[in-house]
Structures are given as C-alpha cells and as structure tokens.
Amino acid sequence: MNSLAITDSLLLIVTFLIAYGAKHPPSIRIAAGLFAAAAFLGVLRFTGILPLPTMHSFFSGLGATSAYPLLTATFLFPSSVLANQWRFSSIFAVIAGALGLVASALEVGIWANAVALTSVAALFLRSILFRDLLVLIGSMSLLAAVVLFALNVSFASLLKPGDFLHLFMAVGLAILGVKSRARESQAA
C-alpha cells in the first residue's frame, strides 16, 4: 500500500463523515459527498483493489470545479437557499460541474485549478474580514492543499504531491465541517 492510498483513506473518512452528518447543511454535504466519491475512487486506485484512473480523475475534477465553489458559497451566504436547500445546492453543483466539463472539453486545463484556488482564496478573505478563526485555519489548509498540489511539491520519497493535497484537504474540510456543524447547532 502506498502513501497515496493512506492519505486518500484519511480524506475519505473525513468527507464521508461530513456527507453523512445530518447536522450539516445540504450544500456542505453535497460538496463533501463529491470529495468523498473522488477519495473513494482514489483509495480503490492506489490500493490496487479496483484501479479506475479515469473515473478518479473525473470525480477529482468535479470536486475542484463544483465542490470547492459550493463550499465557499455556503460560508459566504450561510442563510441562502443555496446553502440550505438540497434543490438549489444540487442545481449549483450540476451547473458548476457542467462548466468544468465544457472547460475540459475545450482544453482549458487551468480551469479546475483556477476555480479551486479562487474558491478557497475567497473563503480565506471572508474569514479575515469576519475574524473567523476556524474558517481561517480551514481555508488556509485548503489553500495549502491546492497550492502545493499545483506546484507539484513532494517531501523526499515519503510524501507525493497528491499526499499533500489529501492531507491538507482532510484537515481543512474537518475544520470547516466542525464550524458548519457548530453554526447549525447555534441556529437550532
């Protein structure tokens, strides 16, 4: 078993728990579900149990172009129908995913990275503006995930670029998950 399988398993556990958690708003659950699907396919791929590399790459792309903006929109507009109704969260996810597919078909390779980076940067700025420590740490972690992966950073032979992506995403999403759960509890 390689390091990617282990770090993707960690990401899978975190995202699955968020997607499964009834106390999170629908938008967070859909975003986490998309990440979880990609992570699950990653685990299958990197453990060698059932390698489906193209499907893994498809869901990873969907995560970047659809789940990241959905996550950001949820924190920017927490009381909107987009954050709180399955219907509007899923419409947003489908449209954002479709735009990602069009970009992919037109060979606009930068789209997925640009959307992910813009989304987490917006989340980061929002956390500074509102002095929201948890979101600040969560978004910094996601920012690190996106940037380190884009820069193809690795650590000796121990951690590959994908590992940084999985680890920082897992940490960032776990923190944002705690935050959204706390907010929902307060609202209730």
Binding site: L52, T54, M55, S57, F58, S80, V81, F88, I91, V94, G97, A98, L101, V102, S104, A105
Partner: protein, 362 residues
C-alpha cells in the same frame, strides 16, 4: 448543388407526419374529435423548426459526450453484446427521467420544455411539438453514460429509441393497457403528464419506463371520473412556432428584471415555475383559471387551411433537403441555415397568428 444523402433521421420526418394523418383518419372514423387544424399545423411546424435548430444544436451534445467519453470513459463495452444496449437503454431512460423532471421543476429549463406542453390538444402532432432551445442543458444529465464509457454510437441510438418510443404515447385513442401500465409509459399515464388538472401537475416524467416515477413518487394514474384538460394553465394564444419557443424566456427575464434583489432575480431562473417572491410557490389551482381566454377562431376558414398546409408542406420539404445536404455544409453555413429557418417561421407564424384571431374575423 450539394449531393443529397439519405439518412435515418430524414426518413423519420415523413413517417411521423404520416402517423399524424393516420391518427386523424382513425379518429374521424371513430367519430371523435382529437385534432384542431391550427394547433396541429403549429405543432408540426414547431417540430420542423426544432429539427432545423437541433440538427446543429445536437452536435454540441454529441461533441460533449464524445469528448467526455474519450477522456474519462472507464470501461470497454462490446457493441455486439445485446446486454450493452439493454444496460445503456435502461440507464439512458433513468437519466431521461431526471432531464425531464428538471425540465418541469426548474424554471430556466421549463422555459425550453414548455414548448412541448403549449398545445391545448393531445394527439400525435403534440409529440412533434419539440423545443428548439433544449439542447443547451440536456447533455449534462447524460454524462454518467459517457463516464462509464458507453460508446457515442450506442448513446445516439438509445437516445433515438427513447425519443421515438415516446411518439405513440401522445394519443387519446388508446385506453388503459392493463399490467403494462405498471412498467411502461403508456398513452394513459402520459395523458396525465400533459394534463393541467391539479392532480396531473408534475407527474409521470418517464420516457419508456414508468418505474422511475413509481420509485421517486411522481406517478399518477389517469382518473376515470375527472376528464383531463390539456395544455398550459396560462394559454399561449399564438400559432407562431418561434413565439412558442420564446414566450416563457421573455416572461422569465421580465419577471427577473422586476425583482428588487439579486436573490429573487436568481430565484426567477432556478426556482420552480410557480415560484413568486411573496412566498406563494404552489401552482394556481385549475378551478381559479378563467375558462374563456381563447382568442382564436373556432372554425377554420379556407384561406387559413390552405396557407397552413402550404407552409407545412413547404417547410417539411426544405427540412428534408437541408438534412440530406447539411453534412456538406460548413458549421457557420449550417448555423446560418438554421437561423434563416427560424426567421422564416417567425414571419410566417406572425402572419398566420394574425389571420387566425377573432377580432380580425369580425
């Protein structure tokens, strides 16, 4: 002069129009009146116009499908194996259910699909009344097939099978079909889909199989004690094929423009069609809709009949010629041809609508 190439979609045009004529003859023989001349001519012309537009628009769907299938297609499928086709058809029909449901329940998609429901009649010509603007969103829903690696040829053929199956269910001449009603979409359960009675709203979205409706709670049986009233709650009152495609887009944008905040503006596009900013989101009950909002003449004058038939026959002939030669035309020329057809239909439809109005008869 470009060479004419006969393809299956060209043969479909005269076959479908012939089926309409056969149903008309049978209905007359049965002593039933299920056709209205202007309505049927408009339905056929809307269908012809949609073929002009979709002959190019469908290329976008096929292109997107082919690219995604090539990039992300996961499995290899044996096209000689019947199971491949059966699986693809089942999955396509399942996805069609969601395309169709979204087409009814999300306003900006309803703006396209409303064209198909704008007839006050229900007969085989209604099946031809297809939107010219739906190609922009439908492809998105079929991407799971592409990711699974179903070849584009299989996708196109099962899509055609699904579409052609749905033609025969647009009839009032066939009653209930016993146990088949539990599995397949039939004329009876599709009549419910086209009804504007309260119990018919947002029901029976299936394409070939109605099991999806039963699974997701959108199934409704036809009621013997409540005759179905067909068409839109707010009548279209136009025989113009172009306006039938655009009227809802216009009213949707107008409504959005009238909203004070961005949230409500966006809701005009993504909320259900019955949404309004004051919080009411249920469709208007049928009982509250005025019964006499029809502005058209009931009996068709001879000049209207002759001009309507001439318009239809001529446009069908031009469409057949276009479909047979379009492969030799460049993309921009194809778009120009489709745009010219739309302009011609807009003009013809305008004059024909004016000629049909009651006030002009007086």
């Amino acid at each position: 002069m470009p060479e004419f190439v006969l393809s299956p979609n060209i043969l479909v045009v005269p076959i479908l129009i012939s089926l309409v004529i056969v149903e008309l003859i049978i209905s007359k023989a049965m002593g039933r009146s299920v056709y209205n001349f202007q309505d049927s001519v408009t339905s056929i012309n809307i269908g012809i116009m949609s073929q002009f537009v979709n002959a190019t628009g469908a290329v976008i769907s096929a292109f997107m499908y082919a690219v995604v299938e090539m990039k992300y297609g996961t499995f290899e499928w044996d096209m000689a194996n019947p199971l491949t086709w059966i699986f693809a058809l089942l999955l396509y029909d399942f996805l069609y259910y969601w395309v169709h449901r979204t087409g009814h329940e999300v306003n900006m998609f309803w703006a396209s699909h409303i064209t198909h429901h704008s007839s006050d009649e229900f007969n085989l010509s209604t099946a031809l009344r297809q939107a010219s603007t739906g190609f922009y969103f439908k492809w998105i829903f079929y991407m799971p097939l592409a990711v699974l690696g179903i070849p584009v040829q299989v996708f196109v053929v099962v899509g055609l099978i699904d579409l052609l199956y749905q033609v025969w269910v647009h009839t009032r001449l066939v009653g209930r079909l016993g146990w088949i009603e539990y599995v397949l979409v039939t004329p009876s359960n599709h009549r419910v889909h086209h009804g504007k009675n309260d119990y018919c709203i947002d029901k029976n979205y299936g394409g070939i199989f109605c099991v999806w409706d039963r699974m997701f709670g959108t199934y409704a049986d036809e009621r013997a004690d409540e005759p179905i009233v067909y068409g839109l709650k707010k009548k279209l009152n136009s025989w113009n094929p172009v306006w039938s495609n655009l009227h809802y887009w216009v009213s949707m944008f107008k409504k959005a423009g009238q909203q004070a905040n961005w949230g409500d503006k966006l809701m005009c596009f993504f909320a259900p069609p019955a949404w309004s900013p004051d919080g009411k989101s249920a469709p208007t009950p049928l009982a509250e809709i005025p019964a006499t909002d029809d502005v058209f003449v009931e009996k068709t004058p001879l000049p209207v009949k002759v001009s309507g038939l001439a318009m239809t026959v001529l446009s069908a002939a031009v469409l057949v010629f276009y479909l047979g030669t379009k492969q030799q035309l460049s993309g921009p020329v194809q778009i120009l041809c489709a745009a010219s057809a739309v302009c011609a239909f807009a003009l013809l439809g305008f004059f024909w609508t004016q000629g049909n109005k009651k006030e002009l008869e007086r």
